[in-house]
């Protein structure tokens, strides 16, 4: 006798209980094998290159300049006086602030000069201090004008503060090798 009875359908399912385990493994692999590379650093724009024979000396009044020299012995000089690196910030803040209301071409210029044998880390620490001084002033101006720190301002307010403080950091032309 032929069995005409319809076969009862059996539930067909893919076992997916182990799926999350597999995906966890994948996740772990990616977590371990990749490093989220943080690209942090001090951003700067170098001055335009002008060949030495075409360079001009522009006279700049003394009180507009803050000349920092980091020499090869590791001494840091601000306006020819030896200074400890952590003091640079405190020293510059009042000088930047005293020129806030002047036009852009009268604002403070911070010039950083190094010797060829100067340690790179010292240079970075010095540059960092100068930038910190500007950051403090920007925060203060932001608080005075808008009641917020510089980082919390909107785009236009940020620009206004930036124009008012107007950071000029000059990386001095290296001296020719003697």
């Amino acid at each position: 006798m032929v069995n005409l009875k319809k076969k009862k359908k059996r539930g067909a399912s893919i076992p997916d209980a182990g799926m999350s385990d597999i995906v966890f493994l994948l996740l772990l692999f990616f977590l371990v094998s990749t490093t989220i590379d943080v690209d942090t650093g001090i951003g700067l724009a170098l001055p335009e290159y002008i060949p030495p024979e075409e360079q001009e000396q522009v006279p700049i009044s003394k009180d507009r300049m803050a000349a920092i020299l980091v020499n090869e012995n590791g001494d840091v000089l601000l306006d020819k006086k030896i200074i400890a690196i952590p003091q640079i910030k405190e020293n510059l803040i009042p000088r930047i602030e005293s020129k806030l209301d002047l036009p852009k071409n009268k604002k403070l210029i911070v010039s950083i000069k190094t010797d060829r044998k100067t340690n790179y880390n010292l240079y970075i620490q010095t540059l960092d201090q100068v930038r910190l001084a500007y950051a403090v002033v920007k925060d203060r101006v932001g608080n005075n004008l808008y009641g917020r720190d510089y980082g919390d301002l909107g785009d236009e307010e940020e620009k206004a503060v930036r124009d008012k403080v107007y950071e000029i950091i000059s990386i001095a032309e290296p001296e020719a090798i003697k």
Binding site: L26, G43, Y120
Partner: protein
């Protein structure tokens, strides 16, 4: 007196069927957020630390230059000499006009090497730079 544990009549089960979906999302995030393009760094270097640092927003614009403890200079995947930097950076600057040069210089190196590199990249007008540093805590 009778103590009988009260049990809720509903079924007690945490629904786990969508767990793989959640983990897939995490996985996708990590796959997208991480850049696999890594350079083979051939020089030995240790970055300095600083406080007033910023993040490079657009990684596509960045070209890396390493300077190792021994003064060797690496640009992209190769050790280069000072003279070659200008030529390579010129090509890069033509391809990406607003290229950022990220300088990963060992903290014990002399400024001389850095000044030379800076002069070279200034000559080809690739003037946006970034001194790579860690955050000082």
């Amino acid at each position: 007196m009778q103590f009988e544990k009260k049990r809720a009549e509903t079924e007690q089960k945490i629904p786990t069927s969508s767990m793989p979906d959640i983990i897939f999302m995490l996985l996708l995030f990590f796959m997208v957020a991480t850049t696999l393009k890594e350079y083979d760094v051939l020089v030995d270097y240790q970055l300095p630390e600083a406080e007033s640092i910023e993040k490079i927003e657009n990684k596509r614009l960045v070209t890396y230059i390493w300077v190792g403890k021994d003064g060797k200079i690496q640009l992209d995947d190769n050790i280069v000499t000072l003279d070659e930097i200008g030529r390579i950076m010129y090509d890069k600057r033509v391809a990406i006009p607003n290229v950022i040069v990220s300088l990963r210089v060992d903290k014990d190196s002399d400024m001389g090497v850095l000044l030379d590199i800076q002069q070279e990249i200034r000559k080809v007008d690739a003037r946006r730079i970034n001194y790579s540093t860690y955050l000082k805590i």
